[in-house]
Symmetry: C2
Amino acid sequence: MTKTKIQKQYEKYVATMQKKADIESAIAVLSWDKEVNLPDNSARFRSQQVATLSGMSHELFTKASFGKLLATLKSEKKGLDKRQKRNIALTHKEYERSKKLSKAFVIRKSKTISAAYHAWLKARAANDFQLYKKELGAIVDIAKEEAELIGYKAHPYDALLDIYEPDARTSELSVLFKDVRAQLVAFVKQLKKRPQIKNDFLFKKYGHKKQWEYGLKALENMGYDFKTGRQDISAHPFTISFSPEDVRVTTRIDERDFTNMLWSCIHEGGHALYEQGLPTDQYGLPLGQAISLGIHESQSRLWENNVARSAAYWKANYKEVQNLFPRNLSAIPLKQFYKGINKIAPNLIRTEADELHYHFHVLIRFEIEKGLMEGSIEVDDLEEIWNAKYKEYMDVEVPDAKQGILQDIHWSHGSIGYFPTYSLGSFYAAQFFQQAVKELPNLLSEIEKGNNQSLLTWLRENVHQHGQYYTAKELCIKITGEPLNFKYFMKYAKEKFGEVYA
Amino acid sequence: MTKTKIQKQYEKYVATMQKKADIESAIAVLSWDKEVNLPDNSARFRSQQVATLSGMSHELFTKASFGKLLATLKSEKKGLDKRQKRNIALTHKEYERSKKLSKAFVIRKSKTISAAYHAWLKARAANDFQLYKKELGAIVDIAKEEAELIGYKAHPYDALLDIYEPDARTSELSVLFKDVRAQLVAFVKQLKKRPQIKNDFLFKKYGHKKQWEYGLKALENMGYDFKTGRQDISAHPFTISFSPEDVRVTTRIDERDFTNMLWSCIHEGGHALYEQGLPTDQYGLPLGQAISLGIHESQSRLWENNVARSAAYWKANYKEVQNLFPRNLSAIPLKQFYKGINKIAPNLIRTEADELHYHFHVLIRFEIEKGLMEGSIEVDDLEEIWNAKYKEYMDVEVPDAKQGILQDIHWSHGSIGYFPTYSLGSFYAAQFFQQAVKELPNLLSEIEKGNNQSLLTWLRENVHQHGQYYTAKELCIKITGEPLNFKYFMKYAKEKFGEVYA
């Protein structure tokens, strides 16, 4: 094929992908609206509208003619540049995966999920895992079936991990989480011997309006662009992108817990900066999208933990928070506030965990998911196993299913292989941030002055602008000279919490 | 064909129509979001997304196989019930119209509109009709071409009127607007001899928050269901439906003009009640849609003028408004307030007109559009003609193009045949409301007590629930025993303004 002809074919590919992106952006707007604006009794038609658009997007992508076009472009050794080839390779991989799942399977899976979700809701309300067992078993069965259909080399769990974290492998994660278990459990045990920190001042009354305004300021201070984004309130905070030029965040405000808004706001802000930094000329193509959930989470965690839970950050910002909430904070010196927001304590609920215990929660889910997928764990024994692991790693007793095995929505949504990306995010964040500090000698002193611009520029250049041009591993090597290494997280944890707990 | 087979075909028709409705509802959500939420720099991809979805909806509807299905169902004399037949007939008509416009024509029209819109913006900014002439000429030419393509019996304008007001005819509207010209001009001249009303108290400072809250109350009081709707702020108030179970309104608030929010809120509320009252089981089908723009406008005008500008309505509500804005209104008795909101005065801008002069504005546009379509008026002479008509009917001098010929966006959007529906709305409203008063002897005393429930029930039963089962004319006869008759509006006008101007 001549180069011009190939480029014509490539343009056809781009047009289809952008059409798909347009439909999916519409779905995203409908979903955002559902969480932020939908009147109480308006859900019925909205669900139908989203289902129709989803079907159209799926139909467009799985057309045989599109598969042929991808195959042709993939086989072309010349005529496409590197970036175009990367787009084609990733789209082709996605296409192949989608073709392996028959329509009948997809429908069956969606019914299984729907049943599981309703069983989970019921079981949670009744605080009884027994009511969920059968449906969770069906979820595990269908996940196993999906893994077989997609195919894998070493471990069935690999097939599912790959959906959320392309190229992640069970074997590598097993090594990683072994380190988590060994090193982090030991370190947290040491911290436990130190006198505990008091931070009740964070849980006094913090007014809604002032919290809201402070959240907006915090986002602005990170460099979040309100001209291509906005913040709203929703029950569960999230970030959503309709294009790199319209990336929205939501937060929630608890008047009895200042940290709830604070961390969710900055966390979602980190996700949003990634989306706002993706290249607009790659809209709809893999190079216009985030690499993986793990790398996405690295951006939110970097801002949340490495920046906004640092002493440097609060040197710049504490005065303002103190002035906003004098009744709660005027008697609390900066150091006490800093320690307060970094208090470490075992807990039962993942989403409420501190930044160290958080990884025990993920570790437990990783071990369980791996066990379920390989058949070494049975759903029947799951509550017992769950509770035993919480006792072992965190020394906490799980009092009931609601605060234990029934707390997360993920499995009932059919999402197996998702949890590990949460920890990957923090570990990548630590490694990236230490590299940024190395490369930008003034970074910490800039953060101390409330200036986060050079950090954002560094992230834009090193992470955001590439989209999916690199894999997570390639990107990590490119930025830091080596693949993901847990030692950076441990270094960060030991330095910071060693000091916080003196 | 057997009855079962026909019903199967009918179900296929319904499925396609609902799919189309789902896509169009998504477009509506995207459009609503654009007006209410869109960040400043996010328009580019949003436009592309809307264009993609519009293309998909159009493609779905104009498929040859769908046309065949419609033809089959239309030819079936048995096997479909009356309501199903009506759906098929209306959809078939729509399909036939769309087939008459080639893709090339649609693209050319859309380019002409785009050029005209930008020329209009420029001309408005420069306050110079000359800058718009050429492009408006192109709009008129393409409108003529469209009329020829669609076809008509008596007058080319008929083909365009039919898009907005099915079955409306130029000949009938000519008679109607002749009455408007003769009777209304004469009546307004009489009123002009009376001492003018002072209503400066409406244009003092009315705080944003209190206005907003009063607007919500006014909507609730009409029976607008906030569980299947919501109100937001936008630059131009509008009503939009995503389904009968999600109908939203917007308003705007001018702190120096209480009436701005008040009338827009109630006006849009009237539109919204119609949409909320459409049958949910006909979602996506003609019987689930409003009859015409004129009937739609009858619902907004009925609430705005016949209800909310009545003495009865303010007997119920004035105390509350007075309590909300004591600085402006405590010294203003009910009667003065009532007169103030019904002040009649000639003006230049249609959207700011009182309820009588409003129809002169529409009359002028009707005469011009009709003239342009039949060739008796040339675009070159338009400004002169415009200004002469304003002088003749309203005795006002048009000082410049911005306050004259360039004030409306409609023509630049290619909407010729739209304006008359505004007046039709008020005339239908007067006729319907007088019938309601006749049938519900307690109606006025209920409104005086702030109870609008039986009016809403009456409208639900007589108008809303039918969707497009009846034509506008049929509905009018069914409800009032005769077709639209201008005398009802004149009766209303004479009684009310005769008393207001004593």
